[in-house]
């Protein structure tokens, strides 16, 4: 009796001659017609105020983190920064929905989720600073390296979740992608593997309307990206990605369903990239300000304040505490990033293999000799 004996408990074995009906009922897999919302709906009152306050706090800190990182690029302290400004609800909810033993598989835009999970910004941003590929310990932090090749991290999440399940450990893998990433073959293969293996994985697609300059209409003709789920035999969920409460609810449900053996889920979060793709991008070439303005009105922080201040869940004290925490983080980032990193040229050769090959030993020696010679000249 193995885990895989019931890798997808609901499907009947293949088709029979003259079969009628699909192998399983597609209805429960289809997303609701409208994205889930909690803020400003009856569901808001049913949501734990402490959770709402925690989400708000993280949003405010997250926004400040995005602003500070962007500033650091202007000062040449970061090589490049892809801001998640406007998408903070997705980022912080993802961090909050996971337990310590769970794994996060972020894409290159998700450093906020990594920081919100507890990784120091200095470590989370080495890739974008240019000092190291990965600045944190993925095993200690249960956080995979930031994935730049789009959607390639998705099958890793499936494999890790599957391995944990094989070992009988209740670990969930959450992977984050963009709308553009859903077009890659790896996205498709990962979802199919997850469904077939019934692996405890959650796929969070942040549909922020653009893949750099390419709008969603040139990326997909689907009714929604969440509708892709039925084609794999997993549930698809559509949620307002700027409603932090809704994001947390949908993610937590999917994460705990996966943990309890319920299999994978695909979530499409509707959000918007209010900044340019990165500080190096010029968004005026491909979109109207009016569109941006409309979305700024639907800002995740504004939405919380709009609906939770009247309800008394957010008060001046919380606003002030959050602002102070945000400033403290920004100050720490400024200080930490203005120090020049100390790098070891020999690190080029360590960690290519478990042991240096004879060829790498020769090359390491060559570089050492060159640097010694340079030093002499300078002296």
């Amino acid at each position: 009796m193995t885990v895989l004996d019931h890798r997808h408990p609901d499907t009947v074995p293949g088709w029979l001659p003259g079969a009628t009906g699909p192998r399983t009922d597609p209805a429960p897999l289809l997303p609701d017609a409208s994205p889930l919302r909690i803020l400003g709906t009856e569901a808001q009152a049913k949501t734990d105020p402490a959770l709402l306050r925690e989400l708000y706090r993280r949003l405010v800190v997250g926004r400040r983190y995005n602003q500070q990182a962007t500033t650091l690029t202007k000062q040449g302290r970061l090589a490049v920064y892809p801001a998640s400004t406007g998408q903070e609800a997705c980022e912080v909810a993802a961090a909050l929905a996971l337990r310590p033993q769970d794994w996060l598989f972020p894409s290159y835009r998700d450093t906020l989720a990594v920081v919100s999970r507890g990784v120091d910004p200095l470590e989370a941003l080495t890739l974008l600073r240019g000092s190291a590929h990965t600045g944190y310990d993925p095993v200690a932090t249960r956080t995979a390296p930031l994935s730049t090749p789009l959607a390639t991290q998705a099958p890793h999440a499936v494999g890790l979740a599957h391995a944990a399940r094989l070992r009988g450990e209740q670990v969930v893998a959450l992977t984050m992608l963009g709308d553009g990433g859903t077009s890659e073959g790896d996205f498709h293969e990962a979802l199919n593997f997850a469904a077939v293996l019934h692996a405890p994985v959650v796929f969070l697609v942040q549909n922020n309307g653009y893949a750099i300059s390419v709008p969603l209409t040139q990326q997909s003709a689907a009714p929604s990206l969440a509708h892709k789920a039925v084609g794999y035999g997993m549930p698809g969920r559509l949620v307002d990605g700027n409603d932090a409460a809704a994001m947390h609810a949908v993610l937590s449900e999917a994460v705990e369903r996966a943990r309890s053996g319920g299999g994978p889920t695909l979530i499409e979060a509707l959000t918007y990239r209010v900044e340019a793709h990165t500080n190096a991008d010029d968004a005026t070439r491909y979109r109207e300000d009016a569109e941006v303005t409309a979305w700024r009105e639907h800002d995740p922080i504004l939405m919380m304040e709009r609906h939770l201040r009247p309800a008394g869940v957010i008060d001046d004290q919380l606003v002030q505490e959050a602002a102070e925490e945000a400033e403290a983080l920004a100050a720490r980032m400024r200080a930490e990033f203005h120090a020049e990193p100390v790098l070891d040229p020999q690190s080029l050769f360590t960690h290519v293999y478990a042991e240096m090959t004879p060829q790498l030993r020769e090359q390491a020696a060559q570089l050492a000799a060159e640097l010694a010679a340079e030093a002499e000249v300078e002296a």
């Binding site: 990326q219 491909y286 080029l348 790498l360």
Partner: protein, 333 residues
């Protein structure tokens, strides 16, 4: 073909953009497709203004999927179009490897010539621009070893224009490798000069001591090294291959025989790199003219390092001169 007459001064990026525009004007079957090639003009602006001038049908923003882009281009070529594909960065061409190796490179052969694929695949490649991981790969050896592909890489603004036009006009599939770090270098060039043929190397500097054989991103550093070598009493020639496949054995062998010493320089990793092929075939052809083994100066055999360390990885003037010094000069220069 419509071409301007007077010379102009522009960056390599602008010259590449002109080449695309001029080919699209000259040949209605030329179509550009790729990620962000539309309104944005590509992340390097090489396709700037093409959608505006030729419309979306001629310059198409595709979904984000490289195998799909190349596979779609194959189908378009099967119907008589001449697609020019932009891969956004070197490492992001890897998802298209199967379409490239199993179809693009082989379609003409597997159909006995009935289905040639005149596709040009533009790939910004190489490092030296402070790019984060996966944005600085030198992937030329993967392509150079795949029969059925031509592999072209310009090192000057004028060649960027001429070789891209020649590549698009070619009836064979061409991997067109654009050295990212040379994109923004300006030079005066003449768009009206004859388009150089694919497959011919260019002697950029004559010399009698030894020859530096290089291509693409490493040409400027080789010219710098040759300049600096004068102080050491070495008169170095610099040979720019321009095309890796088909390889210009004739020119390379002629130059090497005349000087008797050669160093191959490229920034991609050394082991199994194109430099190995160059050294091997030069030695096969010029063995008894060689006073010393053909040496190689290349990137180390490591994954491309983070930006703050890349200068240690990339061949520089000193590393090149160190190699020249090892060319066993005892028997005189």
């Amino acid at each position: 073909m419509t071409t301007a007459v007077s010379t102009r001064t522009s960056t390599m990026a602008q010259a590449l953009n002109s080449a695309l525009r001029d080919e699209m004007r000259a040949d209605p079957t030329v179509h550009v497709l790729g990620e962000d090639v539309g309104a944005l003009g590509g992340v390097f602006r090489i396709t700037d203004g093409l959608t505006a001038e030729f419309g979306e049908d001629r310059c198409l923003n595709t979904p984000l999927a490289e195998a799909g882009i190349l596979g779609t281009a194959i189908g378009m070529a099967m119907y008589g179009l001449r697609p020019v594909v932009e891969m956004q960065f070197d490492a992001f061409a890897y998802p298209a490897m199967e379409q490239l190796v199993s179809h693009v490179a082989k379609m003409r052969n597997r159909t006995a010539g009935k289905l040639p694929l005149p596709i040009t695949i533009r790939i910004p490649y190489g490092g030296g621009i402070g790019g984060v991981e996966h944005h600085s790969d030198s992937s030329e050896a993967y392509y150079a070893q795949t029969p059925g592909l031509h592999v072209v890489t310009p090192a000057t603004v004028e060649d960027a224009y001429g070789l891209l036009r020649a590549s698009i006009a070619s009836d064979d599939p061409v991997i067109f490798l654009e050295p990212k770090r040379l994109y923004w270098g300006k030079a005066e060039w003449d768009p009206s000069v004859a388009v150089p043929p694919v497959g011919r190397a260019a002697l950029r500097r004559d010399g009698r001591s030894a020859v530096l054989i290089t291509y693409g991103p490493s040409l400027p550093v080789c010219l710098e090294a040759a300049e600096a070598a004068k102080a050491e009493g070495w008169d170095l020639a610099v040979l720019d291959l321009r095309t890796l496949v088909p390889f210009d054995d004739e020119t390379v062998a002629r130059v090497v025989r005349s000087v008797g010493r050669a160093v191959v320089v490229h920034e991609s990793t050394g082991f199994g790199g194109v430099g190995a092929e160059i050294a091997a075939r030069v030695t096969e052809r010029c063995f008894h003219h060689l006073a010393a083994p053909v040496l190689r100066v290349t990137g180390f055999d490591i994954p491309y390092p983070p930006p703050m360390l890349e200068h240690h990885h990339l061949p520089g003037v000193d590393r090149i001169l160190d190699a020249v010094a090892r060319l066993q000069w005892e028997d005189g220069r």
